[in-house]
């Protein structure tokens, strides 16, 4: 009895926790497939977190707020994309720049608008709606409690993953995007512009990261500086761990969701210093990376 009492809320929150990872990673997948290393998922998520909640609070309308927040975040990703693609800057550095910019800009704006550099509460902000499902589904034992009862963005993220899969593998855009990442010269020789596909990929990542960030702040009804807390980096790792496919990213994000959920629960109950528990996701990631590399090497016979 105690096991299932622990397991169900544990898994339920894992699904919720994994959503920002999933969203950021699926957007990042588009940039990755087009051949651009995107380490700005963290900064874009942070920007999205700030802008979405701020606009939602000031307009009083959740949908409008998130929309405006997404637009602002996409502007930032546009800056990232333009400097990298058209000014030919180093993609790694511009990614760092985006993160640095998001950190500084959000705090600066927060100070200008709300007078504080610390936590900003938005008590009157509308709550994220929870998707209502018919009772029959909700009552399915075990699965029902885990999969249902989440807020809208969780389900939206699954929809986005499905759409992304179709787009990447079944549309001309997806083919050309992958072609750009695999063999840029070929795309050029066909008269297509690789930069265009990379830029669109970049904008898509801005879109999904904004959504990811919005979930963090709107649920909390507050903005905390650096609320992204490394999730963007974990999302980047999820892309690689998921072998650069939407399905793999789904699995990897779930694993990270599990890990963070576990560390949340463990912090209360298990007697390990909190810092070590926070380090847990990083630790399992690096162990996973090593194991994966060892496995791959043994397969190749080197």
């Amino acid at each position: 009895m105690r096991n299932s009492q622990f397991a169900i809320p544990f898994l339920h929150s894992a699904i919720e926790i994994m959503t920002p990872f999933l969203l950021a990673a699926i957007g990042g997948l588009f940039t990755e497939l087009s051949g651009m290393l995107n380490i700005a998922l963290e900064g874009l998520m942070l920007a999205g977190a700030f802008f979405c909640v701020t606009f939602a609070a000031t307009t009083g309308n959740l949908f409008l707020g998130i929309l405006l927040g997404i637009l602002c975040t996409m502007l930032l990703s546009l800056l990232f994309g333009m400097t990298t693609i058209y000014l030919k800057a180093n993609v790694f550095i511009t990614g760092l720049a985006t993160n640095l910019f998001a950190s500084g800009f959000t705090v600066m704006l927060a100070f200008q608008l709300f007078g504080t550099k610390g936590v900003i509460q938005f008590p009157n902000i509308p709550r994220l709606p929870v998707l209502m499902v018919p009772d029959s589904l909700q009552r399915i034992p075990f699965v029902g409690d885990i999969l249902f009862g989440h807020n809208v963005i969780v389900y939206l993220s699954w929809l986005i993953v499905a759409i992304a899969t179709v787009v990447i593998y079944r549309t001309p855009f997806g083919m050309r995007l992958r072609g750009t990442g695999m063999n840029r010269q070929t795309i050029v020789s066909l008269g297509l512009s690789p930069g265009r596909y990379q830029l669109v990929g970049m904008l898509i990542s801005g879109f999904t990261c904004a959504l990811a960030g919005s979930m963090l702040t709107i649920q909390l009804a507050a903005f905390v500086p650096e609320i992204s807390a490394g999730r963007g980096w974990i999302a980047l790792v999820a892309i690689y761990l998921g072998n650069r496919t939407p399905a793999g990213i789904l699995v990897a994000s779930f694993i990270f969701g599990l890990s963070e959920s576990f560390s949340n629960y463990a912090q209360g109950t298990i007697r390990i210093p909190s810092d070590f528990i926070l380090a847990f996701p990083y630790l399992i990631t690096i162990v996973a990376m090593i194991l994966y590399s060892v496995w791959r090497q043994s397969r190749r016979g080197t």
């Binding site: 400097t83 000014l87 550095i93 720049a97 910019f101 490394g230 810092d275 070590f276 090497q297």
Partner: protein, 349 residues
């Protein structure tokens, strides 16, 4: 195009740098004009504040010191085509190493104890980074990601030490017990925090330059950085140079952190070095990975911080304006277009 490498390229990258700085400073001015109620005063303090007295100036120079070390660490790594993304943790760990040694030897000779502390910082920083290098050689694990992950863990572990075993119960700050007095590095420009570590920084820059450009190992490292396949073909042991640059880079980062504790703070407090790792990357890039150029590049970054601090202390601009300016520099500093343009307009033939 049978041109020589040096003069034209150098000038072109300087022009690129100039344009970048212009954009960054332009944005700062724009932001000040928009956000401040006393823009004129803010602009004055931002750009000239650090030079108005020895306190600001000394602190600015002192702030550049850790940037020199992490910049050198990144320059060595970049020149070897190795990506050390774990600078933050390596610097922080250097501080921890120094603190552990000094707290462990409260009554030892200042010079010898300090030497031991510094060596500990080198070893710990180098070891942490070297771990990533080892993973790369042994199992082909991407060193960029692994160094970042390890660094993230290290940050948390050091935090544990600060708030746990090393915590100073006497005060409410998140800091360790203070180091004994004999370990304080000599101050240069009292009352500012500038100290002996500044001289170490300059020496390190010169030594690194000599090492990379003239030494045997430096040659092999650079060749591996330029073309690993060629180097292997030529008989160089490439795997050695996947690990060594990480170790050297990590050691330099650790040294920077350790000297910050010995020279500036005399105590290990939480977050004392945050940003040093990331900014080291920018410093190396501005300096085009040239160890000698790291010093002026570090000064540039420290100048931005100092200006923002001066403006903040004297008005209504937040300190974050420095990171915004720094991020703009990051955005444009590697834009090849800028230096390509500069190179094209020079070639009037």
């Amino acid at each position: 195009m049978k041109g020589k490498k040096k003069p034209g390229d150098f000038l072109a990258s300087l022009t690129g740098l100039a344009i970048t700085l212009l954009i960054a400073f332009g944005l700062v001015v724009a932001l000040i004009l928009i956000l401040s109620k006393t823009p004129g005063k803010m602009i004055y303090y931002f750009f000239l504040g650090p030079f108005t007295n020895t306190y600001y100036l000394g602190n600015m120079l002192n702030a550049a010191v850790p940037l020199v070390f992490s910049g050198l660490g990144m320059a060595v790594a970049f020149k070897s085509s190795v990506f050390n993304l774990g600078g933050e943790g390596q610097v922080y760990a250097g501080g921890l190493a120094v603190t552990l040694v000094c707290l462990g030897l409260p009554s030892a000779n200042g010079f010898l104890g300090g030497l031991l502390a510094v060596m500990a910082a080198l070893l710990l920083g180098g070891g942490i980074a070297g771990l990533s290098g080892f993973f790369k050689v042994k199992w082909n694990v991407d060193e960029m990601i692994s160094s970042f992950l390890i660094s993230s863990i290290v940050l948390l572990v050091v935090n544990y030490f600060i708030t746990g075993p090393l915590d100073d119960p006497g005060n409410n700050m998140l800091a360790s017990l203070p180091l004994a007095h004999q370990y304080n590095l000599m101050k240069l420009f009292s009352p500012s925090k500038l100290n002996l570590s500044a001289l170490f920084a300059i020496a390190a820059s010169a030594l690194t330059f000599l090492f990379m450009s003239r030494s045997h190992i430096g040659y092999e490292m650079r060749m591996c950085g330029l073309n690993r396949e060629f180097s292997r073909y030529g008989g160089i042991k490439v795997s050695r140079y996947l690990v060594l640059p990480m170790i050297i880079g990590g050691a330099l980062h650790g040294l920077g952190g350790g000297l910050m504790v010995l020279g500036t703070y005399q105590v290990l407090y939480k977050g004392f070095s945050f940003g040093m790792g990331w900014n080291g990357i920018a410093v190396a890039l501005i300096a085009r990975n040239n160890p000698l150029g790291v010093v002026p590049a570090a000064l540039l970054f420290a100048y931005l911080d100092a200006g923002a601090k001066a403006a903040m202390l004297n008005g209504d601009i937040t300190f974050e304006i420095a990171s915004i300016a720094q991020s703009i520099i990051f955005f444009f500093i590697t834009a090849q277009i800028l230096s390509d343009l500069a190179r094209k307009t020079r070639r009037v033939k």
